[in-house]
């Protein structure tokens, strides 16, 4: 078990803030934080990219902030911070979720894979390589979320999870362009690289089945 020194530092910092806000709250002031908002700390152990990490966190810390601010895994991006853009998509217990809409303390013992756990610059994940090959991005900000989402999305198709565009609920879903587009709709690309993203994912999935038009 690894205890991050960063986390220890941030814990002390948080406690100091807590004491300070408690001290000033008794004096009337428009700017003082109310005493009841002093941070409340909790300990959580996560298994991030095959490494156990124990963190002491303000209970308010989202999984996204725990990854970025405490574990310095900044590959996972903060876009809207409200579950609308998908930039923060990570894989938790094998499933893609929005890391911004879940609290770190809710994930005791959970296995978490971020983009750093999928591949490295020297050893790209096939999806990473395909995104490069197909130019599946422009600014790249949504890319880690797109790739984590795509990885888990292809597993969902393999597991037979239907989607809104699956024509027959009793059938296994087919790997069509319409399926990929529908299933990736929780990942917004402001640069509009969608058609190349579809090509990159399709290549890794082994090619598309000609489907009904979307």
């Amino acid at each position: 078990m690894v205890e991050q020194s960063d986390a220890g530092l941030s814990r002390r910092g948080l406690m100091a803030v807590g004491v300070a806000s408690a001290a000033v709250a008794s004096a009337p002031s428009a700017t003082a934080a109310p005493a009841q908002d002093a941070p409340i700390l909790a300990t959580v152990t996560l298994e991030v990219n095959d490494r156990k990490q124990t963190l002491h966190l303000d209970t308010r810390t989202t999984l996204l902030d725990a990854l970025r601010e405490h574990l310095k895994l900044t590959g996972t991006k903060k876009g809207c911070d409200h579950g609308q853009c998908g930039a923060c998509t990570v894989i938790v217990e094998g499933r893609r979720i929005n890391a911004c809409l879940t609290l770190a303390v809710m994930h005791e013992g959970d296995t978490i894979t971020t983009i750093e756990g999928l591949g490295t610059p020297e050893r790209l994940h096939p999806l990473q390589a395909a995104f490069v090959r197909h130019d599946g991005y422009q600014c790249g900000y949504c890319t880690p979320g797109q790739i984590c989402s795509a990885k888990a999305m292809l597993d969902e198709i393999k597991a037979g999870v239907p989607s809104h565009v699956t024509a027959d609920l009793s059938d296994k879903p087919k790997l069509t362009e319409a399926e990929l587009r529908e299933r990736m709709s929780g990942n917004i690309c402001r640069c509009g690289a969608y058609s190349n993203i579809v090509e990159a994912i399709a290549e890794v999935a082994g090619g598309l089945v000609k489907g009904e038009p979307a």
């Binding site: 409340i40 308010r60 303390v105 009793s170």
Partner: protein, 316 residues
């Protein structure tokens, strides 16, 4: 976000008792709606009770041939369940029409029922809202109302219920099983679960303080051709302007419920008698008493046409 204490509940009854003991306590399961609202300080719980460890995620057959869906069953799992796909396809379709893959992986059955309106004035903390602050007034009335309710509205609130799943649950006559803080259990018929806004739009369901949903039950399958037609501004990942859940039998009889038009899933059983006579006759009865604005009157036409589209599908 306001600070809160965090704990993991060990039993449903214990969770209910804990929630009732403190006005600022809230349950958290998937968290996809609650945390969004906590970040905006629209929700400000002082104590969060995490239900994640309660093992309420099973989906199993009931003795009377129906299905008992654990409160914590994820939207993805419920939509993909083989029995749901075969016997209650309108429920799979409604679930798959909502949110994104990521959100469905986290959102739970009970949480979906309890999600709050996406009225933009409810979300804008600079504007008065009777849901956020009872008695403050409604900014939507007289504001931009294209997305708002046209049925069952009040002078206090014209918000809609955003759920797709709940519309299918209403169509299927689901029951909401709960445990109360004193340990007593009950089943609330889905028709009585969501409330119209009336004078108290901040009270959205029939749940008592601390009362916890443990499961949603479905009666035995009723067959028929089942469909969920959702009309929205984008092809995916958007809330309904109007949605129509239908069960249509070979003789043209059936059931219909609407989403996106009211503070709860909208179903009028008496109107269903008109279904064999077509969409126009049915919607005349179903939409009776509608109160529209120039911006949202289109929802009535849209509902009729979406129902017409569902009725035009082959019934075999």
């Amino acid at each position: 976000m306001r600070a809160f204490t965090y704990e993991r509940a060990r039993t449903p009854a214990e969770a209910a008792a804990a929630a009732a003991s403190e006005p600022g306590a809230r349950f958290i399961a998937g968290g996809t709606n609650l945390l969004d609202l906590m970040k905006l300080e629209i929700e400000t719980p002082r104590r969060l009770i995490d239900l994640g460890g309660l093992k309420l995620d099973e989906i199993k057959a009931t003795r009377d041939g129906g299905l008992r869906i654990g409160a914590l069953a994820r939207n993805t799992d419920l939509a993909a369940d083989k029995r749901v796909r075969k016997d209650y396809p309108v429920l799979s379709r409604a679930l798959l029409a909502g949110a994104s893959g990521q959100l469905r992986n986290k959102a739970t059955t009970a949480g979906n029922l309890l999600q709050r309106t996406r009225c933009p004035y409810f979300y804008d903390t600079n504007m008065p809202c009777n849901k956020r602050s009872p008695g403050a007034g409604c900014s939507a009335i007289g504001g931009f109302t294209r997305s708002h309710a046209v049925l069952g509205t009040s002078e206090a609130c014209i918000a809609t219920h955003p759920s797709d799943m709940a519309v299918a649950m209403r169509l299927l006559d689901a029951g909401v099983e709960t445990v109360r803080p004193d340990g007593a259990t009950r089943t609330i018929p889905i028709a009585e679960f969501h409330r119209l806004p009336a004078e108290t739009p901040h009270i959205e369901t029939a749940l008592a303080p601390g009362e916890l949903i443990t499961a949603v039950t479905l009666p035995k399958p009723v067959g028929g051709k089942q469909a969920y037609h959702k009309v929205r501004d984008r092809a995916s990942y958007a809330f309904a302007l109007v949605s129509v859940a239908t069960i249509i039998h070979e003789d043209g009889s059936g059931r219909v419920a609407l989403g996106g038009v009211a503070h709860k899933p909208w179903r009028v059983e008496e109107a269903e008698a008109a279904m064999p006579r077509g969409a126009k006759a049915t919607t005349e009865a179903l939409l009776s008493g509608a109160r529209t604005t120039a911006q949202n009157a289109f929802k009535l036409t849209l509902a009729e046409r979406a129902l017409g589209a569902a009725m035009a599908q082959p019934r075999g």
